[in-house]
């Protein structure tokens, strides 16, 4: 039986993150190794044979200088092991010009080899590209932290982390839910569960993961509800459903009905906010506990922000806000902040805001993303949020944990 221990403390979590970053760094370093050098050296040596050669290396690829220097070092070492000696061009029996190039899918290393007056011989090797992105952070008086959890090429709709021993991570994709286990050196896939659905997903497919106490998780997708089992191997039962989706977390109980062929909520709320049970169709919502009531903010499909308190619906334009909102609990400011995506010309950012007397004021600096933020949900306990972004350059997806702190 899969058992998840109660949530560990924040300090332990920070230690875990440290090791995660360490593991990620090692993985990236491993990716930078150059398995093609041996192969290319053998090909070059088969043309030149042992002897004195001159060699030039040019980098036309996206590899940085450190990486190309490392490849050069490894290549020279491999060539030397084949009996090649490196001399100036005027003393060389052969001249070798190596170019590090690339196309969309592979790195291509090409050697143009001139031996005497023979025609130039071309030798090349190719190997898959391993592109990666590194996170950046910005800080302010109150700090919005962004921690990279996971990257993958396939679309990610949502992500959740189960702090336990070992920690687990759940990734919601359009067609499967993948469960990962932390194994000291990194995340290892434990299970992949297929999401069955009859109707096609809408083009801008969205989804939400909600971790549960009596079973691992629920997954909400357009017109489909999936519930996991709580034993290993983890099972997933999906059914066509028009059930409402949770909009908040354990502390903010509000559900909304999702338009299963579109990318927004219909506006029908359960159990409602006081006397209010409808709001214009919206993309996202954020709840802020106040004395005696909860103020809910909705990013409506007409681009406006609706603030509902159970009695009134105040509409504002909230200049610069995007369509993704959620709320987060912290020990800073009023104790709850709204996280909102912000509009920019090319890439998105997320910023925390305080809402005082129905007016939003920035509480932190913006955290920038490489592309567009496609998902932003509060975690079950409300102290963190999970964001997914799609890198406009690589097309890959990145998932982040967001938290707010008052400590620099």
């Amino acid at each position: 039986m899969l058992v998840f221990k109660p949530k560990v403390g924040r300090t332990a979590f920070c230690i875990l993150l440290f090791f995660l970053f360490f593991a990620l760094e090692n993985t990236l370093a491993a990716n930078n190794r150059s398995p093609g050098t041996e192969q290319l050296a053998a090909k070059i040596a088969s043309v030149t044979g042992p002897g004195a050669v001159s060699i030039e290396l040019e980098n036309k690829s996206s590899l940085d200088n450190n990486q190309s220097d490392e490849i050069r070092r490894q290549l020279l070492s491999q060539l030397a092991s084949h009996g090649l000696r490196f001399v100036n061009q005027d003393q060389a029996a052969a001249t070798i010009r190596v170019t590090l190039s690339e196309n969309l899918a592979t790195y291509i290393w090409i050697a143009a080899i001139q031996v005497g007056n023979n025609p130039t011989a071309i030798e090349m090797v190719s190997m898959p590209r391993h592109d990666s992105a590194s996170p950046t952070l910005q800080t302010g008086t109150i700090t919005l932290h962004r921690t990279l959890l996971w990257t993958q090429a396939a679309p990610m709709l949502d992500i959740a982390v189960l702090d336990g021993n070992p920690p687990h991570m759940i990734v919601l994709e359009p067609d499967q839910v993948v469960l990962y286990r932390y194994q000291g050196s990194g995340w290892e896939q434990q299970d992949a569960m297929i999401i069955t659905h009859v109707h096609p997903w809408p083009r801008d497919v969205r989804g939400r993961l909600v971790t549960r106490k009596d079973h691992l998780f629920d997954a909400y997708l357009p017109g489909v509800f999936c519930q996991s089992g709580n034993r290993t191997p983890v099972t997933l039962n999906c059914r066509e459903s028009d059930d409402s989706w949770p909009l908040g977390n354990d502390l903010l109980n509000l559900n909304g009905f999702y338009a299963s062929t579109r990318n927004f909520f219909t506006g029908v709320l359960v159990p409602g906010i006081g006397k209010q049970s409808t709001v214009p169709s919206f993309y996202s919502a954020a709840g802020l506990p106040r004395a005696g009531y909860i103020l809910w903010l909705f990013a409506a499909t007409d681009g406006k922000i609706h603030m509902l308190d159970g009695v009134s619906d105040q509409v504002t334009q909230a200049a610069g806000w995007g369509d993704e909102l959620t709320s987060i609990r912290s020990s800073c400011g009023t104790g709850w902040q709204v996280l909102a995506s912000t509009r920019s010309s090319n890439s998105d950012s997320i910023r925390a805001y305080e809402i005082a007397d129905r007016a939003a004021s920035p509480a932190t600096l913006s955290v920038d993303f490489e592309g567009s933020v496609t998902s932003l949900w509060t975690a079950t306990d409300g102290t963190t949020a999970f964001a997914v972004s799609r890198d406009g350059r690589t097309g890959g997806y990145e998932a982040f944990r967001l938290s707010v702190s008052c400590i620099q």
Partner: protein, 455 residues
Amino acid sequence: MRRFVSALVVFSSLIQVAPCLGGTRPRYGGTLRVNMQAALVSLDPADANSADPVALDEISHLLFDTLVRLDGRGNPAPGLASTWRSDSGYQRWSFTLRNNVRLSDGTILTPQIATASLRSVNPDWRLVASDDGITIEVSSACPQLPMQIALTRNSIVQRDSGRLLGSGPFTLSSWQPGKHLILKAREDYWKGRPFLDEIDVDLNRNLREQTISLDLGKVDLIDLAPGQSQRTTSEGRATVSSWTNQLLCLVFRNGNPSEDEQKLREALALSVDRKALASVILQGDGTPAGSILPNWQSGYAFLFAPSYDLRRARELRDEVHLVTAWSLGYNGTDPSSRLLAERIALNAQDAGLRLQTSMTPNPDIRLERILITSPDTHVALDDVARQLGLPMPKLTGASTEDAYQMEKALLESRRIIPLLHVPANHALAGNVHGWSSQWDGGLGLADVWLGTSRP
């Protein structure tokens, strides 16, 4: 950063000119109004005689699907086929069809329909329909078959008494060949309904009319001729450039040139000042090319770096006693083609060659604009050879080195002189979002949505 990387970054920014408005989700609804220069008279993706394969390709993506599509890295991904596999020799391939895909008339897509569609385009293939898919047998090992299947000409089409039925995101609502078409979004599209309700396309519109219509807010998306994009951008309009997915080249009508003819063709290749063509006539919209495929695609294109060497061209010309006069044909409806042809003729004269622009039906040399239809080097080379009627070199393997050898053989045939790699350019209104440039210069309109802000 190196210049190459910088170029990639610049490129990335080009295709991101009109992405999703930051922080906002796509909006549903609205009609996208498009102007095209092409006067398409057929929407059949298998029409090999189309006068404008680029435009045909763009429209085909909206009406039809292929069994295999290409993902963001150019790798094969499931399309109408959910899975596929081959035998160990890559000669027999089985594709399993996705369930419950419907054509635009509501008919369920069957293996028989897919088989008939592919057979009409690939008479050399042996196609057999099974219960849940199709099997394709080819005469020699073809590890790239899924990439070939992804070509637009292999779109699955039911041809029914002149009607073309497809499974694409849009269906044809109105069609006046050569003039106008209206495409309507399909609610039951297997990949999700497009955001737009309709696309209204005016065909055969000259570029000047298109620009005026965009300025007046009467249209949302227009073509830009090569050389127009920089000026259009400087005038404050949003422009989008695709990958450099088109090759401007000279193609000789006659194969098997004599030794003298080969020297003259080499002299012509050396006499063309490609940098001037790119910078002066195309205003920076092209990249000098000595290869068929651009470097972003092959990774080895720099090995075929073009050279402009008038002295060597004259030497080669002087080695030939009888210099024949060539006629150079070009697309008369494209103003930039005429300018390019005239400049090439002048360059040739500088080398002592006799080259005359001509509108005769069968010129000795044609100035061609070739669409590179696949990111796969082998498939792209095969398709370029097919488009130009060139003999395809024998395929020896699937490696990058094999592709290099294929391209080298094509170039050494002296039937083709690459000139420039150019992108497809469009200008768009400020309310058009969600644009993503496709491999083949397609518009990707199924993902486009209209915002509220009009220019």
